[in-house]
Symmetry: C2
Subunit: 246 residues, 2 copies
Amino acid sequence: MLSKSQINLLKSLQQKKFRREHGLFIVEGHKSITEFINSAYPVEAVYYTPSFDSKMLKLSQKINFCEISVTELERVSSLKTPQDALALVKIPEWPVLQHEQLKGKFSLVLDGIQDPGNMGTIIRIADWFGIDSIICSEDTVDAYNPKVVQACMGSLARVKVHYTSLIEFLSKIKLPVYGALLDGANIYQTDFGKEGLIVMGNEGNGLSPEVQKMVNKAITIPRIGKAESLNVAIATALFCSEITRK
Amino acid sequence: MLSKSQINLLKSLQQKKFRREHGLFIVEGHKSITEFINSAYPVEAVYYTPSFDSKMLKLSQKINFCEISVTELERVSSLKTPQDALALVKIPEWPVLQHEQLKGKFSLVLDGIQDPGNMGTIIRIADWFGIDSIICSEDTVDAYNPKVVQACMGSLARVKVHYTSLIEFLSKIKLPVYGALLDGANIYQTDFGKEGLIVMGNEGNGLSPEVQKMVNKAITIPRIGKAESLNVAIATALFCSEITRK
């Protein structure tokens, strides 16, 4: 059974302010919880309902497993249709990224992505294409937002999401900076080489003027038809596909 | 002002059954409505609030423009935050597609896509890549569903979405049929030629066994990282990108 203070804590974690205060976030559902248990993330507790696969209970002795009722889960879940369990996971503090760690590979940089669904899809795309670091501006949606965690489908357990000042970060890292912009070079005719940063901008406004100035090469996905724009997660997938296809 | 029967009609169109019965669907917001007015779709009426850009009212004499209050719009809108107008548009009856119309180009075939957001994004992707026909199995989500129309951002005005028996359709059309499947040929090493059908399957189950049998060439997007799957709209975008990049 959950105490009143546990219920309050779990519910409070739907808000970024309280996630940062407690250094905790919530992962829901058997599959995603398994991915976090098998990752570098410290899982503090798993609250499970009677229908939960009990084999998982032996997975780790460090985790506090606690059976709760379906009604209790409904009370603390952020989902309309809660699954069979909910885990309390520590927000990791990734060490500041250094040039050495990003050399010889591609990483994603997100400048002000706002939609949790897009953010979750982008993390999943990074995971598919083997990109292990995403560097976000401070105003990018929180990766530990329950909607992002849900949309990630466990990929957040493998892809490290950093929040920092992009200006500071980009001025420190000496790698090619490719920016998704209008009127840039055709993505299909661009040789991305073996390493670099791919910068994607906000859904409505694209890259901020300050970040645009730090882009070495503007890249455009040519439009053949008439749609006004491509969704940012779709554009990210096309960039990831192009850098890895060779 | 809206009559009670108008309110009932507009609200009923949130359900597929009534959309088919009346042959009508709803488009919301200034931008999307403009795209439909400038398309082959017959727009029957536009219900607009005082904040609506009145220049549009002169766009067509065939359309019944009718001012309503914000409260009235809130009553009939399917959006949490209604925009400035709502249009009543006729569902077109596209003539049955013949082989001749699909020759020399690529079209998308959707087998049981369920999520309205994915459907809307796929229509937008088709529009971006200049694909003008999407052929859907009967159990694919309705393209005139308000959530699909919303996610399309006007692209539905340009891309024709057909619903039919895929088995019948695929046996009639003599074009290469590429299917998104596991263990197929590497998409990056595939020469798609100049024409064909790209078949994408249901979010959870992929292609149905009957449709799989009609696929000439199974194609796979290689996974480099560890994500279990790619979202179907993302996969569709990667296929569209590959067929048009050459």
